[in-house]
């Protein structure tokens, strides 16, 4: 009898563990998109972890309450890096979200690998007005003349300056650097090591300001059909040398610092000039920094202006069921109304990309938004559809910037990077 008890006990343990294992697997199964009462639940992944995420959440909550189609959106917010790690395997194993936000730079490789759906039919969805979108904003989401993502926000790199530190250094607080030369001249003057004040910082992950500067100087990253590197040029070398002089020789700021750490410095009032995206606005306001923001420096002020347009857009994974598309479009349409566009621009300090928003009187009167909006007029997407850009940034450019800031020979760094880009382009 005893033996039977033992067997019973053991098989119970075995059975339970099997149950547990199968439960693990079952958790990933897709839930039915529509329940009996006609309600639709959508999962939505994005990387808005900062204060802008709260504004996004409130807009999504409003939509959940207001919409008359019974759509509920459940947001899952993670860092962009995390999102890009989790999303590809989730899409291939069909456990991805119903729709998500993607950064412009990351999105070409999703298109190339067939992980996202073309969204051209969004323009036919009732109530959507394609003519309200500015052309460059649409270009951000276009690969091979197909629309793969619908704009959610656009942004570039802008010049932020701390007016109090300008005053303390004896510079005109209303004259931010308008050219790259002015920037390199002003930065050492603004630096005060005794007060722990940096004039200018180049973050080690700062590919965006680097490309902006190289383009303004007449340089290039790759040729027009993305087959060969054109990074090695006198124009690029000049930029690299100037960056190195500023940071490594003049010591206008720490040599090794990430973008996030740079933002901390700016928010603490210890940095005079910073080049970064519009997300900096909220932090500066919250920390009551007396700051100004303007368009990115140029080679010659007001002439032949160059700026990189970046952005975030809505994408739908290839794994998403067609039956959900209508509900997703409903939300994307809601997002791209004048009302929401205005809210996002003003509350969050982002430049508008809908014509109706930029023409709005309230938006025009907002000093920050209207200043950021000026750059939209000449900004262009950087290398649209180039799916190797994230790898080039991770494996070649970020290490180059780090070594440059640490004092390595710019010419050698440039040539090595040039070779590495060519290797990458031929090996794909």
């Amino acid at each position: 009898m005893k033996a039977w008890k033992k067997i019973l006990g053991a098989s119970l343990v075995l059975g339970c563990s099997l149950l547990l294992l199968s439960a693990c697997g079952g958790g990933n199964e897709k839930k039915a998109s529509e329940s009996a009462d006609g309600k639709t639940k959508l999962t939505f992944w994005n990387g808005f972890t900062a204060s802008d995420g709260e504004i996004l959440q409130s807009i999504v909550n409003d939509f959940n309450k207001k919409n008359d189609k019974g759509i509920t959106i459940e947001m899952d917010v993670m860092t962009w890096a995390n999102l890009n790690e989790k999303l590809p395997p989730a899409i291939s194993s069909k456990t991805g979200p119903d729709f998500m936000l993607l950064n412009y730079g990351d999105f070409a490789q999703y298109v190339k690998n067939g992980a996202v759906q073309p969204l051209d039919d969004f323009w036919d969805y009732k109530g959507v007005d394609k003519s309200d979108f500015t052309k460059t904003a649409l270009e951000l989401g276009t690969v091979d003349e197909q629309q793969y993502y619908i704009p959610m926000q656009v942004q570039g790199m802008y010049t932020y300056w701390n007016k109090d530190l300008f005053k303390a250094a004896g510079l005109d607080e209303n004259k931010p650097p308008k050219t790259w030369d002015e920037l390199t001249e002003m930065a050492p003057k603004l630096t005060d090591a005794s007060k722990n004040v940096s004039g200018f910082v180049f973050n080690k992950d700062g590919t965006a300001p680097l490309y902006n500067w190289v383009l303004a100087n007449g340089g290039k990253l790759v040729n027009d059909d993305y087959t060969k590197s054109e990074f090695a040029s006198p124009e690029t070398l000049e930029v690299l040398k100037k960056i190195q002089t500023m940071i490594h020789t003049d010591k206008t700021g720490p040599e090794s610092i990430s973008g996030a750490e740079m933002d901390n410095l700016m928010n603490a009032g210890q940095l005079a000039i910073e080049l970064n995206g519009p997300w900096l606005n909220n932090g500066l306001k919250k920390n009551e920094i007396n700051y100004g923001v303007t368009t990115i420096p140029q080679l010659i002020a007001g002439k032949n202006e160059h700026a990189i347009l970046d952005g975030v857009g809505f994408g739908i994974p290839a794994s998403t069921d067609d039956s959900k598309k209508e509900a997703i479009y409903e939300f994307i349409k809601y997002w791209n109304t004048t009302e929401i566009g205005k809210k996002w621009s003003i509350e969050n300090g982002f430049p508008p990309y809908l014509k109706s928003v930029s023409e709005d009187a309230e938006v025009k009167a907002d000093p920050i938004v209207s200043e950021l909006g000026k750059q939209i007029e000449f900004a262009k997407p950087f290398l649209p559809g180039f799916d190797q850009l994230p790898s080039i940034n991770n494996d070649i450019m970020n290490p180059l910037i780090e070594k440059l800031l640490a004092g390595d020979d710019p010419e050698k760094l440039m040539k090595d990077a040039d070779k590495a880009i060519n290797d990458m382009l031929t090996n794909k």
Binding site: Q109, N113, L265
Partner: protein, 302 residues
């Protein structure tokens, strides 16, 4: 019928067999979450495959050949060994030191033991975040104290030469409690009569330590060294959070590199798998060698 019952009951009555049945859940978990992924990883190493599972081609041993030509892969292995050489001895020495210091069962010692064990139960990720904040040259508390004392402020995680020792220090701080506890129980298991007779013979404390304590705890010491070696070779969390492999890839360890190959652009899952396989073999070789050496040492001691 009766015959069948007796044979079955005698079969199951053997304690070892019932034991296997009770082990079955663990074995199944091991099978599903270790053995099958292990075989899967090895199989993936022979393919050029990305994480989207598109454009997959069979490439044979190409990935493995690439591992040894890939400068960054080789360097990440060297960094891993460097970390192991910094971390393991420090961990053992610190653990042993505190185990000896706290071996007497006083109330104060018991308090210290649990205090030193607290970091062990914390997540490595959160500890790495706390350390990055504490050591941040601009906003960190430790550089602030140093500057108030008029000392130079090291860049810790941002200095290419200091970054890895800082990571190793952080790891030792977090983990030495485990080593301490294992060695402590081992020290307390030593028969007091050995010390009594040594004292009668006039042995100093130092002689007692080297001639009684140390030889008696060799098996536990061996266990600690071995688990530490294996753990250090797979260092990842603290590097991922605190430095991300930087500055200038100086803290990029093998697992960090595997991760950045496989899970960020260009998402080369096949290549990352072959890197994993190489690391697996390397860790296995080191672990087996260390194990054999330690077993032999133990026998010599007896």
């Amino acid at each position: 019928m009766k015959n069948y019952r007796t044979s079955l009951s005698t079969y199951w009555n053997k304690p070892s067999r019932a034991g296997y049945l009770f082990l079955a859940p663990s074995i199944l978990v091991l099978l599903f979450f270790t053995v099958i992924p292990l075989i899967g990883t090895f199989a993936l190493s022979f393919f050029k495959i990305n994480i989207f599972f598109t454009n997959t081609t069979f490439t044979g041993f190409d990935n493995f050949l690439r591992v040894f030509q890939d400068e960054r892969a080789v360097r990440s292995l060297i960094h891993t060994l460097y970390f192991t050489l910094l971390e393991t001895p420090a961990q053992i020495i610190v653990g042993l030191l505190f185990a000896v210091l706290l071996s007497k069962n006083t109330r104060f010692n018991r308090f210290c033991r649990s205090t030193f064990y607290i970091p062990v139960i914390c997540s490595l990720t959160s500890i790495a975040i706390i350390f990055s904040m504490l050591l941040d040259p601009n906003i960190g508390a430790i550089p602030y104290v140093l500057s108030q004392l008029g000392m130079p402020i090291p860049q810790f995680f941002r200095d290419p030469t200091l970054a890895m020792p800082t990571v190793a220090f952080m790891t030792v701080w977090k983990n030495f409690g485990v080593t301490m506890t294992i060695l402590l129980t081992s020290i307390q298991g030593i028969s007091p009569s050995l010390y009594e007779s040594a004292e009668m013979d006039g042995a100093t404390k130092k002689e007692q330590f080297f001639n009684i304590t140390l030889p008696q705890i060799v098996p536990s010491l061996g266990f600690c060294i071995l688990t530490n070696l294996i753990g250090s070779m797979q260092v990842f969390d603290q590097v991922y959070v605190a430095t991300g492999g930087g500055p200038q890839f100086k803290t990029e360890t093998a697992v960090q590199y595997i991760y950045s190959r496989g899970f960020s652009a260009p998402y080369e899952l096949g290549y990352a798998s072959s890197l994993s396989s190489v690391l697996f073999v390397l860790v296995a070789v080191i672990a087996i060698t260390a194990n054999v050496y330690m077993t032999r040492k133990e026998r010599q001691m007896k």
